[in-house]
Symmetry: C2
Subunit: 261 residues, 2 copies
């Protein structure tokens, strides 16, 4: 029996989770929209709580819908097109939605066991940027990402723009910037600040140690001098001509590329 | 005398230029919004046709507004807050707007004189991506960008996201992909396709010749096999794990970083 009422409590809860950071935090849940991201979540064994799909989504994405049903049974429910219109958050909705529990990934990152290359994001505000950066971090094989004082990692736009990397990258958003710096100091692992400053060391050719971390700062203002001063080095992408800075996600992609060389 | 009517013909023309690609093409004009991009246009001697600013913008951005007035005189006009609400295209409008002529940059790029490093964008659709890529191309000192079969470079979102690089980067959108490839073939300059294919050559450590071009394909589908086959080589960013691809702007940033090493 398909859900046809936009006032169904499950539907109302989904939209609250979609729209409100506080509801996501209170319930410990977040939403996924689209066949690709839901299929990624299933592949990574995310224990989905519920799912909704239209009859036409079941036709267009038979593998994803049958995987959903075999995984969570009756918690995957058919919905009408009208209800789908209420749930969707994209301009071309695919009619498939799921609710997932927050990814509790802190424990492996609150102590650093094996070294590796780490990324620290400080005060990033744009969900699309953070999603793109997580995807790039996944691509270069990062050991872990610390998201500090930044936007909500369960924001639907962020989740979507990670293209599944959210499920794969070791990640925590539970620690503040100073706590993360203290953690690396205690582990003896150097931390390098990405700054826009021609007097800083050039990223080109910089030999990062085998185990280290890089910090990327806020989109508009970069990393504050105070926050950069807590790091062991200051590195910059030297730019030609009069350009002042790169887009935060583009700068982060280049940094990650060099960091994980 | 400030413009207070939302029906003023100059105001209506501005909104048409903002919203309609066809109007931009017909009139040979495009719009700029915000103090930063207008100040960049003035610095790069873009011959602005007209400008509009609110009284509060004149207070907040006195240097930009007086530079506007000294440059274009009475064609820089004060507008009411209500008219500004009609012109604005951003969530936090600064109340300062200008109309610029299309940047006719084709002539230096329709023949390749001095060699250098070039970027070819093929079928890019997202204005924000293209803007971010132009900004990265500017940062690494690209010799020229060919935008083929892609979104309108005068789209307001694209213009905004270039942060002024639109005015600085040698750029043309007048040539189709095959014409650009033919141009490079005729000049004897090799062209490398950026592809997502584990069998292609790895970007890491690839020695690009002193003069060459790189092609970046569509966000969703990448470069078609057919279009890649027209190039002299196929290069890929090798990725770890199960990730399938990077965001187009992030991939382009990394490619540009290596291309202009």
């Amino acid at each position: 029996m398909a859900i046809v009422s936009r006032d169904n409590p499950k539907i109302k809860m989904y939209t609250r989770l979609r729209d409100k950071k506080q509801t996501r935090a209170d319930e410990g849940l977040f939403v996924l929209e689209g066949a690709r991201i839901i299929s990624d979540a299933l592949k990574e064994n995310v224990p989905l709580k519920s799912a909704f799909y239209t009859a036409s989504a079941a036709e267009r994405y038979p593998d994803t819908v049958s995987a959903l049903i075999s995984k969570i049974g009756g918690a995957a429910e058919e919905i009408s097109e009208e209800v789908s219109q209420k749930l969707c958050d994209t301009s071309a909705p695919q009619g498939i939605y799921a609710v997932a529990p927050r990814l509790d990934k802190t424990p492996p990152l609150d102590k650093i066991v094996d070294g590796g290359k780490f990324l620290i994001l400080n005060s990033l505000q744009d969900p699309g940027n953070v999603g793109t950066i997580l995807r790039a971090a996944d691509a270069v094989g990062i050991s872990g990402v610390y998201l500090c004082d930044s936007c909500d990692i369960y924001n639907p736009k962020l989740v979507r723009s990670t293209m599944g990397s959210l499920f794969r990258v070791p990640l925590t958003d539970r620690l503040g910037y100073r706590d993360v710096i203290a953690l690396f100091k205690a582990s003896g692992i150097p931390v390098y600040a990405s700054v826009v400053d021609k007097t800083a060391e050039s990223l080109r050719g910089f030999a990062f140690p085998e185990s280290c971390a890089a910090v990327i700062g806020n989109e508009g203002n970069g990393l504050s001098n105070e926050d950069a001063a807590l790091c062991d080095g200051r590195i910059t992408i030297k730019m030609s001509g009069t350009i002042e800075s790169l887009n935060a996600a583009a700068a982060a992609a280049i940094f990650l590329w060099e960091l994980c060389k």
